[in-house]
């Protein structure tokens, strides 16, 4: 991806990336026009961060690392915002 941004963050939420955190993450992702993807390892497989069906299917657990990348308009902001959401423990989700 050209002008793509990539970063990673460790999930601290008690139950990992489950129902409520996944709702929060996909909702936030949808507010950005860029293509946003997440993965459990830096090599992928990369999945669409705007799809809760796919995000849930990752079954990302507590203490696992979440890789985030985005491309297109607002890519850098999108990655930063999603990273912050995870750091903030999904805003208490």
């Amino acid at each position: 991806m050209s002008d793509a941004t990539q970063d990673s963050v460790v999930i601290t939420h008690d139950v990992g990336l489950h129902a409520r955190p996944s709702v929060a993450l996909t909702k936030l992702a949808k507010t950005f026009p860029s293509k946003i993807e997440i993965a459990a390892t830096a090599d992928g497989p990369w999945i669409d961060a705007k799809s809760i069906v796919k995000v849930m299917a990752m079954k990302a657990k507590q203490h696992s690392t979440l890789h985030i990348r985005a491309a297109g308009d607002g890519a850098a902001q999108a990655v930063a915002a999603i990273k912050q959401l995870v750091i903030d423990d999904f805003a208490g989700a």
């Binding site: 129902a19 996944s22 909702k27 069906v53 657990k61 507590q62």
Partner: protein
């Protein structure tokens, strides 16, 4: 007049007409045209989403999260995407939806993570809502003040129902640990699960006794009168015991008694006020091990134990190591074809025979012990050497964790006094840091009477003089040697036995959370 018997999942009494919660989806008329089928499915998903959005506006808290999750799933094109190819291949919309949701559900079910598996209820809920919308069915709003009857009731059915005129739930399936059972308990809605023999008729008058799990259909006058008497006695008991719930547990002369609770599912503590009890006397870890599901890993167990310890704060929490076998089989762990499973490989006998499984649990417990006041309890101990062996394994687990740099703590190790050998010769078990009397098994083994055979249930009396003599001996031994002795069987939850136990000198009771008020009330009168 007909009777059904089930398990009480949420206590209470209710009389009213049955309202069958239909399993919709049956009557979808196919068009035979793929383009029309695809459109029908799109419309149904849209209608289902609208219904949920309506529902979302009327709920809050945990319930709102459940509905928001379902909406997010339905709004995601990925959920319905696999249907388009299936429909293009000639299948009707309902079949395509069933297949697509079926494989989603399969994926969730196969997870080793309990939080993930628990979402299956939500997916089933989404699936049937769309199927009903597809069949053109309006949301069948059950009338208020009825008994919801069906194979099971979904969380969204429960949440969208009007409970303002009370009501009850009677299901042929379900489980006392299901999401809906928890919602029912927190709302105080009487609920009976696994009712049999199953009868389902709309409008039939039902008496629901969700204290014993007995349901009567088309009752005669005598049954109705008896029911009303029980219901009003229950209501009176509830009022009084509710007043006692948050008071300290003490006898009339001010002597304090320690009152602990028995739990299974860690989620139960969300509904118990820690100020109403002195801690947890028995957490049954078997709840984490489900027949047919993968064994829970260390992380999963650690999280479950830690949740309870954090809730309890500085108060003690006693977690019993895996107690399966007997009437609680788990395929792959418990032996097959035992001729007398209650006398076979169960409790600590089984976990010592399966060090691979035991080690994972002991590691999770040692890790959790760093978060509170944990005690670990071994079930079905018969010989002192069983404590020695378990203590060695616990020691190993703690050393391993420390070497790995993982925070942990070695908890105290005590035992259940449920095999008569322990009650007869407690002095042999000096290695035990505490005893907890399992009155159910102690009664069964002392009186040679099966716990689950109705024909001999009259013999099963924990107040039999022989059982009481054993209990007295244990209490005396504890007092003489300064070892804590508690009682965590059903006997401690039964107000009619409380007086006997207090007079025998028992200082610590562990009871079902719903019995806290009644138990305190009984103690206060002594």
């Amino acid at each position: 007049m007909q009777r059904m018997q089930g398990q009480a999942a949420s206590k209470g009494f209710f009389a009213g007409p049955a309202c069958v919660v239909a399993d919709h989806a049956a009557t979808y008329a196919h068009s035979g045209n793929p383009a029309q089928e695809a459109q029908a499915l799109r419309d149904a998903v849209f209608s289902a989403t609208l219904e949920l959005q309506d529902l979302l506006a009327s709920v809050e808290g945990e319930a709102a999260d459940v509905i928001a999750f379902q909406i997010a799933m339905l709004e995601d094109e990925e959920l319905v995407a696999p249907c388009w190819d299936i429909i293009a291949s000639g299948e009707p919309a309902d079949a395509a939806w069933r297949m697509a949701m079926g494989s989603q559900i399969e994926n969730y079910l196969s997870s080793d993570d309990e939080y993930f598996r628990a979402r299956v209820t939500d997916l089933e809920d989404i699936k049937s809502r769309v199927l009903r919308c597809l069949a053109g069915g309006k949301q069948v709003k059950a009338a208020a003040g009825t008994v919801l009857v069906g194979h099971d009731v979904s969380p969204s059915q429960f949440l969208s129902h009007d409970w303002s005129k009370a009501g009850a739930i009677v299901v042929s399936g379900g489980s006392i640990t299901s999401h809906v059972a928890m919602l029912a308990r927190s709302r105080g809605i009487p609920m009976v699960v696994r009712a049999a023999p199953w009868v389902e008729t709309d409008g039939v008058h039902m008496l629901v006794d969700a204290e014993t799990g007995a349901v009567i259909l088309n009752p005669d006058a005598a049954a109705t009168a008896a029911f009303e008497q029980k219901a009003s006695a229950f209501a009176a008991r509830q009022r009084v015991s509710e007043a006692f719930r948050l008071r300290p547990t003490m006898r009339r002369d001010g002597t304090r008694i320690q009152l602990l609770v028995n739990i299974a599912d860690p989620a139960e503590v969300d509904h118990i006020d820690i100020n109403s009890c002195d801690g947890v006397g028995l957490m049954r870890s078997e709840f984490l091990f489900r027949d047919g599901a993968p064994l829970p890993d260390e992380e999963h167990q650690y999280r479950a134990y830690r949740k309870v310890l954090e809730w309890a704060g500085e108060k003690p929490v006693t977690i019993r190591t895996l107690d399966i076998g007997g009437d609680k089989p788990i395929t792959g762990l418990t032996p097959e074809g035992e001729s007398n499973p209650f006398l076979g490989l169960r409790g600590v006998r089984l976990t010592l025979a399966r060090p691979d499984v035991f080690r994972v649990q002991l590691r999770a417990l040692a890790r959790a012990a760093a978060h509170g006041n944990l005690q670990v309890m071994l079930p079905m101990v018969t010989l002192p050497d069983e404590i020695t062996q378990a203590a060695q394994l616990l020691d190993d687990a703690e050393k391993e964790l420390s070497a790995e740099g993982i925070a942990c703590h070695k908890p105290k190790l005590g035992i259940m006094a449920e095999v008569p050998a322990v009650a007869i010769s407690p002095e042999l078990f000096k290695a035990a840091a505490f005893f907890s009397i399992g009155s159910n098994d102690l009664t069964q083994y002392t009186l040679a009477v099966s716990r689950d055979d109705a024909r001999v249930s009259a013999l099963s009396d924990p107040a039999h003089p022989a059982v009481l003599r054993l209990i007295t001996g244990l209490i005396q031994y504890g007092a003489d040697n300064n070892i804590s002795v508690s009682l965590c069987g059903d006997m401690a939850s039964d107000p009619k036995h409380v007086e006997t136990l207090v007079k025998l000198g028992l200082k610590t009771f562990s009871v079902a959370p719903s019995m806290i008020g009644e138990n305190k009330q009984a103690i206060a009168s002594l």
